[in-house]
Symmetry: none
Subunit: 198 residues, 4 copies
DNA sequence: GTCTAAACGAGACGGTACGTCTAGTCTTAAA
DNA sequence: TTTAAGACTAGACGTACCGTCTCGTTTAGAC
């Protein structure tokens, strides 16, 4: 029936919305997700708590909005120089560098945490961040398959996961170095599995 | 120098320790990690809160102890029938089935969450759970390399990660099915990358 | 300088305030001061603990507020029939009777306890309860001095204390009966000291 | 019936007993009664908690023992120079001075507190400390009555209370000075009530 | 250009859980 | 058997946030 009182989005204060997103990102970068509180965000943003609860269901949702808006530029296509291995290595090296910035990896890690307990947020994070990334990799691999650089019988999507998941895992665990050498080897391993078969 | 007052471990009550572990596991299976509280554990275990705080630094650490003790049998060697692909598929299918049990995957997921915010716990979880698993896979792959079933030039450890991480990722995200077909394909993909090169 | 964050008294919930006072009085009457807890008051009042800590610094302060509001009618003048001895005896007998009610003497005793360790509370209890009482006695005695019934050279305030303190002492100690006979004798003794001197 | 297991007092460690008493007195003088804890006493005395619980029912009881043993010399007779007023003033002035020492008044105040909630302790404190004092005053007054210095029709015990209680009250409340002038006036007032009647 | 309904800042409220502290009981080893 | 030591169950402490609920105060769209 009636959804509580759906607030009137046209009257929403953009000023507050931005302040909340910025506050959430800066706080999570400073102190980590478990010390991030709605009250803290409201205080830093100079905003009433209700203004947060009116527009977001949880602090995880705030973070997801803030992250996707600020961090995720929007374009997701991988470069295609004609050399699949080189392109993948280039992009993964850039990603390694990106994850060195606490302003980036702190909210990213926070979203990983929040996701595990909150299926709705997991769906959102997947749809807005993870899935587009995986799809871009799969697309690039499919292009290589199309021009004979990779075995067309292989599942491009699975190969994309085989590239991205070990990266994510190492980053999440923090127990092994996340280096260019690592991503390069990973590309080599997965691409070996994609060699066109004679 | 002195760490506060290190409690005397020889006087520790095993009765309480076990009750705490069992309570933690059952509660996390019932309600999820973010509804798991130290007070709840203490209440269900029939134990004073201080007894938990005396021996563990956080609820995540309790869960790690409880999980490794109860869930992780101890032996980690993979079967070796001589057929690498078959062996890997068998084990991964069994793991898929294992993760269908909430009594198993709930604490596992909880540890993933806790880990992301707590580097110390991450180290413990890695050392006691993830690392032994990865090592067992790498060992099996090395055995295959030794008898010519796999390219000896490949990094066995990296291949192990390429098998395990996509599995973990899908499970964590819940957005794609975690089926035998998936793990079988994954084995095929990674093993294709390990084909002995002519 | 700034007192933390002084809460906004205009928004204070009177409903909660009254419930807290009533809960404090009933609990102390039932179980005594040392079994009185802030949590217990909050629970019985149906109130969050923070609502108590926001407005009072200690359980003693709650009790003082509750007591002065409920028990202390406000008017403190002693009757003046022209007969000082009779008037004092009447009032003290009434006080003896009043102290037989646990609803009255329990919080009173509690405040005595709390006072001894808390100088601020002592000041409050003195100012709101003890001092007005002593002053009323002193005033009545001064009236008697003015009309020649008592020696004008005596310190009326000291005489008031000589009446009230032995009463308080016996009540506090519980080792001797607190009877009308006792207060009558006390009045006779002190008034003998106030006889107009020839 | 059997009283639990009455411990064997003949084997009691005097060393521990003394250490406990000293620890209790010094701690209460330093921090006040409400910060006095059994654990604190045990720690400072270098004694197990059980050793305290074995021999005393409460921290108040420890304090009473410690106080009576250390502070109350044992002899309670007031001087008798033949001049009642002078003798009383001398003794009360000395008492005023005694109460200026925190080592004395801190445990005394603590016992007042403890007493109000604990009838058993009240009986003990009364019997060992207050009552002997009151009796000594009453005795001195009776001596004066015997030699015609005071009205024999008056209740000497009541007069003693009229001297001691206002003193105790002022000390307990801390809101009025506790001076020699005050005790002198008090003696004068009460003694006026005891004047032999023509 | 008001008027008026909303979104807003602020923050009090009923609650839950935190991590700490102490009570009083129980167990162990030493003397 | 008493003692020092200290782990145990129990539960209150005072604090931090939760998410809900008023309060006036902006503020922006409809009159």
């Amino acid at each position: 029936m009636a959804d509580k009182h759906a607030p009137d989005a046209t009257r929403r204060s953009q000023r507050s919305r931005l302040a909340i997103c910025e506050a959430a990102l800066s706080l999570v970068a400073e102190s980590g997700y478990d010390r991030l509180t709605v009250e803290g965000i409201a205080a830093r943003a100079g905003v009433g708590k209700q203004t947060i609860y009116r527009w977001w269901p949880s602090k995880g949702a705030v973070l997801l909005d803030a992250f996707t808006e600020t961090m995720v530029a929007g374009e997701w296509a991988l470069p295609d120089t004609g050399d699949l291995a080189a392109d993948l290595k280039t992009v993964l090296r850039a990603t390694v560098d990106e994850f060195a910035d606490p302003g980036f990896h702190a909210p990213y890690r926070a979203l990983y945490v929040a996701m595990a307990d909150d299926a709705e947020l997991a769906a959102g994070f997947t749809a807005k961040v993870l899935e587009p990334g995986a799809r871009a990799y799969a697309e690039r691999i499919r292009a290589a398959q199309a021009c004979g650089q990779a075995d067309p019988g292989c599942d491009a999507r699975l190969a994309a996961e085989a590239l991205l998941a070990p990266f994510a895992q190492r980053w999440l665990m923090r127990n092994q170095p996340l280096s260019h050498a690592f991503t390069d080897s990973l590309v080599d391993l997965v691409l070996a599995g994609l060699r066109p078969r004679g």
